[in-house]
């Protein structure tokens, strides 16, 4: 008999990084690395579960910007070029490391992985990874949900509801375009919730979203089941809460599984170890980058890293998967003593954590889902499944919260990044006023206002504020925010002066091209 449900949720997102104006652009590699190391391995996990008919279920959030990039022809062709370079490098590495068996074994592993990635991407999925995920939704293994159009933190968009609504409705429309149906769930970027959002989500037809633990434990009135059952907080919308224990076990490099000394080290990469001439053509003409080929294990809190041993790592994966499932059984048993409905343990993670950050993560996920399927007391489910089975829910309003550091907005609203908000708010309000002035614009004005909205949405991405708080990528984040805002403002100027520059507009439409079905009237 089922005592409780385990709702694993993977959130896959990258900001829109597409630079046709450059032949090779460093930041596009964020996407390429995520495809090779996280998305393709995740598809392989789904394929294995499907092939073995494992009754596994989990929720997968795919952001609209990520879907747009996965569908983009230019980025697909660049990814293939990137993959070809990786295969070429791995072949050279396979030859170079032959005298060193410990490293040679790893080099062979990478060559197999990259070759397999190429086969999966090109032959099995015909470059259509969004379509691949859709296949597994149709086969019942995952429930795909969406998030705000460009991963904007909705409570930070200012006082205008229309700007929040645009982020939500554009996401809902993109989901329908990719998956041919409406999304049931909405992933709040960074779990950032403020009272009132539920009304907008309900209006767009969503049935549930997720907040951090204290979003529910501090809800009003106090939820009787704490973080282990949803609450109803709007007209037909439920809020679920993240479970803190499973979070720590998987997120934390210090206390969690990914920090195991036998696991592969993320930071030690041949891109920084080998002479530059041995790294061509993966290395750009100038500078050093991560290649994805990493031969060492974490080893310990030391710089002296030992060679990675895939077999020992696999043993640890088995231990950690078994531990996770055993912990859930204990947890659910403990909760069920008090609760008169099966507790639901919500376990949300960034999808890129699996494979990219935690190399062995996809293996762990595969084993956990298989072991959950073999544990009669537990059921792996999606949040939509849980709501369907237990539609009677306590009414309450979650507390404003995020899953970021300290549980609130401090990561995205601090002295390093707070200068963006006056510009975002003022530009958004200006565009809104302009759109209301031209509710039935002619074709040229319609295109200009639509592109202006596209630029605004891109500037609103939470990623830029996040990067500004980190030194490594702040410069690019500042430039992206500024560029997208300036483009929006310039288009507003041109519409106001009735002087839209056709050529410049076409250049922008070609370059910043997510959401092809966008229409500025979503703001009205």
């Amino acid at each position: 008999m089922i005592q409780g449900r385990i709702a694993l949720l993977l959130h896959a997102h990258l900001p829109f990084v597409r630079h046709p104006e450059h032949d090779d652009f460093l930041e596009e590699r964020w996407l390429f690395e995520a495809i090779t190391e996280s998305y393709l391995p995740l598809l392989e996990v789904l394929d294995g579960l499907d092939r073995d008919r494992v009754p596994a279920r989990f929720t997968l959030s795919l952001s609209p910007t990520l879907l747009g990039m996965l569908a983009d022809r230019l980025l697909r062709s660049r990814y293939l070029r990137h993959l070809d370079h990786l295969v070429e490098l791995a072949e050279k590495e396979e030859r170079r490391t032959r005298p060193e068996p410990a490293f040679h074994r790893c080099a062979e592993m990478y060559l197999r992985r990259f070759t397999r990635a190429r086969t999966l991407f090109l032959d099995e999925w015909q470059q259509d990874l969004a379509g691949a995920f859709r296949t597994y939704q149709e086969r019942g293994l995952v429930e795909i949900i969406t998030t705000s159009a460009t991963h904007a933190i909705l409570p930070l968009l200012g006082t205008s509801g229309a700007l929040v609504r645009a982020q939500i409705e554009v996401a809902a429309a993109e989901y329908r375009r990719f998956f041919g149906r409406s999304a049931e769930g909405f992933w709040l970027p960074e779990c950032a919730y403020a009272p009132g959002l539920e009304t907008e989500l309900a209006r767009a037809g969503f049935r549930y979203f997720v907040v951090d633990t204290h979003g529910l434990t501090h809800a009003t009135p106090r939820p009787v089941y704490g973080a282990y059952a949803p609450i109803a907080c709007g007209p037909g919308v439920a809020a679920y809460a993240r479970d803190p224990d499973t979070s720590k076990q998987v997120w934390s490099a210090d206390e969690g599984y990914p920090g195991d000394f036998w696991y592969r080290d993320f930071y030690r990469d041949i891109g920084f170890d080998l002479p530059e001439e041995q790294l061509r053509p993966v290395l750009p003409p100038s500078g050093r980058i991560h290649t994805g080929i990493k031969y060492h294990r974490i080893t310990g809190k030391t710089d002296a890293k030992e060679p990675y041993d895939p077999d020992r790592a696999r043993e640890r994966v088995e231990v950690h998967a078994a531990h996770f499932v055993a912990s859930r059984r204990t947890q659910v048993e403990w909760l069920a003593r008090t609760m008169d409905r099966p507790p639901v343990v919500v376990c949300p993670y960034d999808a890129e954590l699996f494979g990219h950050w935690w190399f062995e993560g996809p293996q762990w996920l595969d084993l956990v889902l298989r072991q959950l399927a073999a544990t009669p007391e537990l059921e792996a489910c999606t949040l939509g499944d849980d709501l369907e089975r237990h539609p009677v829910v306590q009414q309450a309003t979650p507390a404003a919260s995020t899953w970021g550091w300290k549980g609130h907005q401090e990561v995205w609203l601090a002295s390093q990044n707070d200068w963006v908000y006056p510009h975002l708010h003022a530009t958004g309000e200006r565009l809104l006023t302009l759109c209301r002035r031209y509710p039935g614009a002619n074709d040229r004005t319609r295109r200009a206002l639509t592109q202006a909205l596209r630029e605004l949405l891109l500037a609103q991405a939470s990623d830029w504020a996040f990067m500004m708080s980190r030194e490594t990528t702040a410069e690019y984040a500042v430039r992206r925010t500024t560029d997208n805002l300036l483009r929006c403002q310039r288009l507003c100027d041109e519409v106001e002066r009735n002087a839209v520059d056709d050529h410049a507009l076409a250049v922008l439409e070609d370059r910043d091209n997510p959401f092809p079905a966008l229409d500025y009237r979503v703001l009205l």
Binding site: E21, R29, G226, G236, E352, W357, G404, A414, S469, R479
Partner: protein, 250 residues
């Protein structure tokens, strides 16, 4: 009183008015100086309480998504119109203040005030304009029904600020000029926001609804279950089997 006296008195009064007007203008100019000529750049550091200095495990993982390596900026080939060459405007020509709740104990507000609004405010203060201070007036509740909690002195030229508050309450702010007499002239008023609660609610009422695709409806079922302890966020976790190293999972 002779005609000469009247003219003389009139001239004196006129000179006084002109002198006062010049003084008001001078002070207004001095007060506006930072806004007319010395507006901080858009990336100027904000007041110190805003700085975020640490990151949790979640941020550490998220950062690795954007960890590709480093290329000197000069090495990136610039294509046609690769980046915008203009700068963001320093002002948008409006009176506006937007207040946001950052966490249970901190609000963030940014504002813009048009120069003409400041001139008019100084003029309305008359002779008191000489010693005005720009302050952030914090209201508990929504203006005008709220209660003034504090007048926080602002750094000249400031355009954004972090305000310490108490959790679980409603707040609004005004940016304005305060004279030594206590007279306050509002320059711009913000929206109201609620600071999030920092603990579990005292409200223990229980109402159930049935969630359906067309909305939710009150559920008639009586509930006689048990409350989960409010601190139920951790549970006794089993030791991982096969773990032989010193650290819990290693």
């Amino acid at each position: 009183m002779s005609l000469t006296d009247v003219v003389s008195a009139g001239r004196g009064a006129l000179e006084l008015i002109v002198s006062c007007a010049q003084e008001i203008f001078r002070r207004a100019q001095a007060s506006l100086e930072p806004f007319l000529h010395g507006i901080p750049p858009v990336d100027a550091p904000a007041p110190p309480v805003g700085r975020s200095t640490s990151q949790g495990p979640h941020e550490a993982v998220e950062a690795t998504k954007f960890f590709a390596g480093s290329i000197p900026a000069s090495a990136a080939p610039a294509g046609p119109q690769a980046t915008e060459t203009a700068s963001l405007p320093r002002a948008y020509g409006m009176n506006r203040a937007v207040l946001t709740a950052r966490d249970p104990c901190c609000l963030f507000v940014w504002w813009e005030i048009m120069p003409v609004t400041r001139v008019e405010a100084l003029r309305s203060l008359g002779s008191e304009a000489e010693h005005v201070a720009e302050v952030l007036r914090l209201h508990r509740g929504v203006h005008p029904n709220g209660r003034v909690v504090a007048d926080l002195p602002l750094t000249p030229g400031a355009e954004r600020w972090y305000v310490e508050v108490e959790p679980d309450d409603t707040w609004s702010v005004e940016v304005g000029l305060r004279a030594p007499s206590g007279r306050f002239v509002c320059l711009v008023r913000s929206n109201a926001v609620a600071s999030p609660p920092a603990q579990a609610s005292d409200d223990t009422s229980v109402r159930w609804v049935t969630m359906g695709r067309q909305g939710s409806a009150p559920a008639s079922a009586e509930w006689s279950g048990q409350w989960l302890a409010s601190d139920t966020t951790t549970f006794p976790s089993p030791a991982p089997s096969g773990s032989s190293d010193a650290l819990p999972f290693r």
